[in-house]
């Protein structure tokens, strides 16, 4: 008998609206506590919700992007429970009639094949505030700035069979919502969070009891949490135990999931339609207009990158997954007119720097225009690739255009034939031993030996001599000695 893992995911994506789902307060991240919590967000007596049109538009954008049925009549329900960061004592959500119905998304597996994962539904709801447990000794502080931020909860079918598939799915949804511009995708700030429903069974048997691991906020943790949870469940079952259906927390420090102080009572959320809000009714015209205005989706872009720029499937996949990155790449490629060179730089030098400084491409100190300008100078032989790295370093640290830096630091490539010839002659004159070896060697070995002379010339020119020119001239002169 073989164990099979069954995974379903619930993703909470904060929608990138200016204001809350039901009030006119700002949703900007990082403000001082409770400065973005208005009377409605605080649930003052008598206050009422009014629905944000952007939240609706963004939810429909998502639905059309995954080919889902759009709820032409969707209804807000109240999910009742008490928690200090839930000001009304209920969360306004959509249970019975969600805005987005069944859809699907295709993920690419490691073996290169594609798998279709079903999306059960996606519904609109409001985020809760934050409870701060650490600041005070015997008290918890409540910050309601986040309360009422619109969320799209995206619920998958239990279609995934491994942690890797789950991560591929989450990355795909992440790419989609960021590409659509409906979520900033910032997992560290909690804009994009994931709950993992995991169970195991013997292949072909009924679904086992599942656990739900809440609020995991990085791709890596999703993978680790699922793997750990699968292992834990198999251990229990193989020891003859049973899996308790429960909510668990992933502890990244210990790399394990643990039970959330098991609430002895089963939750009874007493859902019912919210009487303060009316049914949201939309027509085909509204949906079609949104569908037509959809930006290019990641899958389409990936194919286009392969076709137009002849990128590898891997490069195209990475670039298209994140819109700011693919936009950056395309700008660089357009300016430099060399897609291959652009992808190498964006995925190489730039990504390395971004990783080292833990910076998102959106905040890159080197803009696409700057990098494109730099690559132009490589293309037109103003500088060599190695010099370009120095220019990039300066650009990253001090700013400025490639031309300004090249000029200021005197890094311009030497292409003056006379100047190069002078250095070449000097190198030949000063390295008699190597020249003798060269002339003595079989002709087919000489190609390799020329590297030494090249290095000497480049060194003597401070890296500025045009390598192509140096090579040609050096070969000509050495061969003449043979």
């Amino acid at each position: 008998m073989e164990w099979e893992t069954v995974i379903g995911l619930e993703i909470h994506a904060q929608l990138a609206t200016n204001t809350k789902i039901f009030s006119g307060a700002s949703t900007a991240f990082g403000a001082e506590a409770n400065t973005q919590a208005c009377a409605v967000d605080l649930a003052l007596p008598g206050t009422l919700p009014v629905f944000n049109e952007s939240a609706l538009r963004m939810a429909v954008m998502f639905g059309t992007a995954i080919d889902a049925e759009i709820g032409k009549v969707s209804v807000f329900d109240r999910k009742n429970y008490f928690y200090p960061d839930l000001p009304k004592g209920y969360q306004t959500s959509q249970l019975f009639y969600p805005i987005v119905g069944e859809g699907h998304i295709d993920i690419e597996l490691e073996d290169g094949s594609t798998k279709r994962v079903g999306v059960t539904r996606a519904h609109l709801e409001e985020d809760a505030g934050k409870s701060l447990h650490e600041e005070f000794a015997s008290q918890t502080g409540i910050d309601l700035n986040r309360a009422g931020t619109p969320l799209l909860e995206i619920v998958s079918e239990p279609d995934m069979r491994s942690a890797e598939e789950a991560v591929a799915y989450v990355k795909k949804i992440h790419a989609l919502v960021t590409n659509l511009g409906i979520c900033d995708g910032n997992m560290a700030e909690g804009s994009f969070r994931c709950d993992c429903n995991v169970s195991v069974r013997y292949k072909g048997e009924e679904l086992g009891n599942r656990t739900e691991t809440k609020n995991i906020n990085s791709f890596r943790f999703i993978e680790k949490a699922i793997k750990g949870e699968v292992e834990r469940q198999i251990d229990i079952l193989e020891d003859g135990g049973r899996i308790t259906q429960e909510t668990r927390l992933y502890d990244a420090d210990k790399d394990e999931t643990r039970s959330m102080r098991s609430k002895e009572e089963a939750n009874d959320y007493r859902y019912f339609p919210c009487p303060d809000l009316l049914p949201i009714v939309i027509d085909d015209e509204y949906i079609d207009a949104i569908r037509k205005a959809l930006p290019e989706l990641p899958d389409v872009r990936r194919t286009r990158f392969v076709d137009t720029y002849q990128l590898s499937a891997y490069d195209a996949g990475v670039l298209s997954a994140y819109k700011p990155l693919s936009d950056f790449f395309e700008t660089v490629a357009t300016i430099s007119t060399d897609a291959k060179l652009s992808v190498n730089w964006v995925m190489g030098e730039l990504s390395k720097h971004l990783n080292q400084h833990d910076t998102d491409i959106k905040n890159s100190p080197v803009s696409a225009q700057q990098l494109g300008g730099l690559l132009q100078r490589i293309k037109d032989n103003t500088i060599s690739g190695n010099i370009a790295k120095k220019v990039f370093e300066a650009m990253w640290n001090e700013g400025g255009s490639a031309d300004e830096i090249i000029e200021a630091k005197g890094l311009k490539q030497v292409t003056d034939t006379g100047a190069i010839e002078k250095i070449v002659d000097e190198v030949i004159a000063n390295n008699q031993k190597q020249v003798d070896q060269y002339t003595a060697a079989e002709p087919d070995k000489r190609g390799k030996m020329i590297g030494f002379f090249m290095g000497q010339v480049m060194k003597a020119s401070g890296g500025k001599a045009n390598p192509g020119q140096v090579q040609g001239m050096m070969k000509q002169k050495l061969d003449a000695l043979c």
């Binding site: 009030s23 400065t35 208005c38 600041e135 502080g141 409540i142």
Partner: protein, 95 residues
């Protein structure tokens, strides 16, 4: 429909209401009577009737996504029972 002590205590817990031990029987009686009154509904066949949630056949209006609320924290927190550093304080929440 007669509710007993356990029922009343369960409901009171769900609603986060502290009910005095001595008052539970009276609540049980009154709630049972109310449920009896309500049970009159069950005599009517409503299998083909669409539930009516809102008296008017209206649809949700949409609000423009522009910021209309400025920071009023000090003003709004004047009525709060316990506040420090701009946070509402509650007894420690254990997760």
């Amino acid at each position: 429909m007669a509710l007993n002590r356990t029922d009343v205590e369960k409901i009171a817990h769900l609603a986060r209401l502290q009910i005095d031990e001595n008052d539970v029987p009276e609540y049980a009686t009154n709630l049972s009577n109310i449920l009896d009154l309500i049970s009159q509904m069950q005599s009517i066949d409503t299998s083909d009737v669409e539930p009516l949630a809102h008296p008017l056949d209206a649809v949700q209006r949409l609000r423009a996504d522009s910021i209309t609320e400025e920071n009023q924290r000090e003003h709004l927190q004047t009525v709060a029972p316990s506040v420090e550093s701009g946070l509402f304080l509650v007894p420690k929440v254990i997760e």
